[in-house]
Symmetry: C2
Subunit: 196 residues, 2 copies
DNA sequence: CGCGTTCTTGACCGCGCGGTCAAGTGATCC
DNA sequence: GGATCACTTGACCGCGCGGTCAAGAACGCG
């Protein structure tokens, strides 16, 4: 489905992706039909299949897009911070901010990880994110500032805390993003017992 | 669907739930048809609708069952441990062990949380689990052994770490349960920086 | 304007879904 | 034996799905 698109075309395509994201998040991927999507946009069914080869491909496109965005966001924030521990902290904050601004997409990512068909796409993205974090963790360990445990385990732990707290307190309970980010950072850095 | 069931009937019912769990986990809830389930068991379609009012109700039944099991498991392990921090630790270990033994169900719980229709059932279960952990956390705070942060936030953080590490290292990477549990406990108690 | 390309329409297709039900089978109890 | 109840069968139903396509509209460029 590599069509040459005009500006107008690119906008339609984006419109489809945006609207589908909302419906998928609200209703679930499978229960949302292609007919529903095009009707919601007030266009014919052919429009959908002009821009996407299938419903599945549209979904994959949404997933790829989302992961790219998140990654860019993190890189931008972290770029000129030399201290590894601060990098980790900034990464956590950036992630939670992005989760806040992209609730629908977060839901889709979560769903995708439960279907064999979509999981592989996610894995690549997650592996990259983990490898990134792990790099900073390693530096921190070398500097003797982070506990000498497996960097990948620690990275995943950070990821787990961040994702779960964002979903629970930002999405479900609508608490202030900054407070949640603060709590996530506090827990990741010093756990239940740590700190003075 | 409150039928009076004989022993034979109860076994069939369980058989349906078990097999459906496997198929749902492997294939996804929506993509798995009722026809597929009954064919896999070599029985007629009527059998399914004798025991369950609908595909959705079967799924809800599976979810309820799973949550009940997990809760029982945790309670059994924790019952006669007086120390709150040890209780938290035992809870983490019990959860990871259960996640290990019930991979399929874990997948279903994760999927369920992404569908508006199933999420409510999960929330109740999760709220109970969190409230439980929060009780121990509060005790720990009172004793001055746990940092004075919001107990619910801390509980959710523990939940997030536990779930994520179990999925990643036990389910995906098939690492030894005990090692993963050890890492989860280490991270939850002392975070990235903590330790001596 | 004319012509090629990009985009849009919506009726249509075949399929497989969730769910139904009349008919039948097999235990169990009196 | 026969009545009752628990269970099983599988053909069947209507529907709405993902996807197709012949036809045409709108755009853009010379």
């Amino acid at each position: 489905m590599n069509r040459r698109l005009t500006q107008r075309g690119r906008e339609r395509r984006q419109q489809l992706m945006d609207y589908a994201t909302v419906r998928f998040a609200e209703n679930g991927y499978h229960p949302t039909s292609v007919a529903e999507i095009v009707q919601g946009l007030g266009v014919g069914k052919g429009v959908f299949y002009w821009y996407f080869a299938s419903k599945e491909e549209l979904f994959l496109e949404i997933l790829r897009d989302a992961q790219l965005q998140l990654r860019r966001r993190q890189e931008a924030v972290i770029a000129d911070e030399p201290d590894p521990v601060c990098r980790i902290e900034l990464g956590i904050r950036a992630s939670i901010a992005w989760f806040d601004e992209n609730r629908d997409v977060v839901k889709l990512l979560q769903f995708a990880s439960t279907e064999e068909r979509f999981a592989p796409v996610l894995r690549r993205g997650q592996d990259v994110a983990v490898a990134d974090t792990a790099r900073h963790v390693k530096e921190g360990i070398v500097e003797g500032r982070i506990r000498d445990l497996d960097p990948f385990v620690l990275s995943h732990a950070v990821l787990g805390v961040t994702g779960h707290l964002a979903r629970e307190f930002v999405h479900e309970q609508s608490q202030p993003v900054d407070d949640v980010a603060e709590a996530a950072v506090a827990f990741c850095l010093e756990g239940l017992l740590g700190g003075k």
